[in-house]
Subunit: 353 residues, 2 copies
């Protein structure tokens, strides 16, 4: 019996993490036919998760049971993917990896289905999903790239704390509790004592603050996140020569990454022409009526949202404001979309079935 | 007896507002010789303020008493300045106006002392201070403009809520209280219900959010703040042809505006050469050792702070991260610096004295 009928046997490595739980919730709501679900905790302790109304035990990783799956999602640390994903995919299991371990490997397709599903191949069963900060730009900018040619991108990010994991979120909530001024002192805006706010998960206190550092800096002063965005965008758009400059900044938002982008084109484009192109862009909801998305208004929603389309410094440049939920389109949703694409192509079956 | 000896008679219109209180605190710490201080509330109710350890009544505006001052600071609404400032300055009183009422008036000098004190004139007693968002860029970018020529500026802002006034700050604190999730539900990042957070002072909820709107939008989709920054920078730098594109965004920070700037030069400049120029820039503290300022680390501190100097999309482009306290260098400090400049030039004396 074909797998598409009986349902797909799905493993999830990192199921108890923040993206893992979003992935299970998204899978549950999607039309993807999960036959059996095998959740694994990537930590040293077994935990439990919920799926379709049932509590499921998520034991520590069991390679043998993973190798019996049709498809395994990795939503865990780079090291875990690096250890397990190549062997699993070589043995015939489809692997969709949300870590950054293989994204820039030339043999591994780096996929955002709305943009480059054509880079999937039936013979390459290890597939990577992109960095969550890049996703909004990749989806919103690609139709402009196809229509007018993108020569340069400059982008400042407003990245939510959930992008740094659960400990960072707990840190924000703890700092807010410790520092929230009940009222304004003598009518003045309070000056908080940053030294009293302990920062461990993030490089500085994030409550009532913004931090222009996401990842460590290289010798030229670029952060790891900024380098990832540039390299992954070039790969996904198949545009190795595009000039990209990014400032990656963490802001005290729970979920949802926002981007202020300047997109310089090869050919001039009016905002009306660009708006027409973006109105039909797959996976993108453009507000072209004077409104704009915010992380609060997009949290928990799938897809990419954009607004404030306007002219930049010349008739070859557009400005755009882009928001997407980093845990959904930036991670869980994109992974499930890739799986659905594999299924629709008829590839998602065990060789042994 | 010269005024500089007996002290200057100083009026403050809007003394009980947020910037007004910062102005009094900054004046108190400065070497500016206040002889007598006349604080006025620009509202309909008299209130009190503190200055040099004493409580002072701030009555409603009294034009006659204002006309007896040597110098009047306006830190209130545009309409108040528009009503009173021209008459006062025509009668011989020096007026330093922090509102936007006269900034783009060709007859009125728009002054950041580190940048264009030379635009002051003994015959023009009405002087404007600039928009608080622009100040950091104007101070940090001007030395680069002088050394290499600035052709284009792109800038995304991370503006604190105090820039929108006390009611906006109270709104942020109220929303945080109403929405702060005590902990993460079932290990997932919470999705807050934005409809439950009432926004009045700002166009959307600001707790756990960022809002890409500061002021109202014009027909081309630019916000009032974005247009102010562009027009005022061109005037202050005396660079009418510079291309400027801004995305102005409000973030849940109490005080301190941050900027991610791309500065495109006429002549190529290495980051080492730019760093050397910026290290000697008046009013600027550059971290050229891999660190960076944040709004929390700069709150309550005077001056402009920058870091993360690095290459942009070409050898003619630099990226810079800039932070300044919008209530201090962005407002109160800048106004007092202008007054000190007038005093140092020997201009700050009554004609009748």
């Amino acid at each position: 019996m074909p797998a598409a009928r009986s349902g797909i046997k799905v493993g999830v490595v990192g199921a108890t993490g923040m993206v893992g739980r979003e992935l299970l919730a998204f899978l549950e709501k999607s039309r993807f036919p999960v036959g059996e679900l095998l959740p694994f905790s990537s930590g040293k302790q077994r935990k439990s998760v919920r799926f379709k109304g049932r509590g499921l035990l998520a034991p520590t990783i069991d390679e043998k049971r993973l190798s019996e799956c049709d498809l395994v999602f990795f939503v865990s640390a780079d090291e875990v993917s690096r250890d397990l994903a190549p062997g699993l995919s070589a043995s015939g299991v489809w692997v969709i990896d949300d870590s950054s371990a293989f994204r820039l490997d030339p043999k591994v397709p780096l996929i955002i289905p709305e943009v480059n599903a054509s880079a999937l191949s039936p013979s390459q069963r290890l597939i990577a999903g992109p960095n969550c900060t890049l996703t909004g730009l990749a989806v919103a900018g690609y139709p402009l790239h196809k229509a007018f040619g993108v020569a340069e991108v400059r982008m400042a990010s407003y990245q939510s704390v959930s992008g740094a994991g659960r400990s960072a979120l707990e840190e924000l909530l703890g700092q807010l509790k410790a520092s929230s001024p009940a009222a304004l002192r003598r009518g003045q805006a309070p000056v908080l004592d940053a030294r009293k706010l302990r920062a461990r998960a993030l490089p500085a206190p994030i409550a009532f603050n913004v931090i222009p550092q996401v990842g460590s800096f290289d010798g030229q002063g670029f952060s790891a996140e900024e380098n990832k965005v540039a390299a992954e965008l070039r790969k996904i758009w198949r545009a190795p020569d595009i000039k990209i400059s990014v400032t990656a900044v963490r802001v005290p938002v729970l979920r949802g990454h926002s981007l202020s982008a300047w997109i310089t084109l090869w050919r001039p484009a009016t905002t009306a022409a660009a708006s027409e192109v973006l109105a039909h862009a797959p996976g993108l909801a453009l507000d072209n009526n004077g409104g704009y998305p915010t992380p609060l208004s997009c949290a928990g929603r799938s897809g990419v949202f954009a607004g404030r389309l306007r002219a930049g410094t010349s008739d070859r440049e557009l400005c755009l404001w882009i928001v997407s939920d980093n845990l959904l389109k930036g991670a869980a949703q994109n992974s499930v979309q890739i799986a659905q694409e594999l299924l629709d192509r008829g590839w998602l079956r065990r060789d042994t079935s």
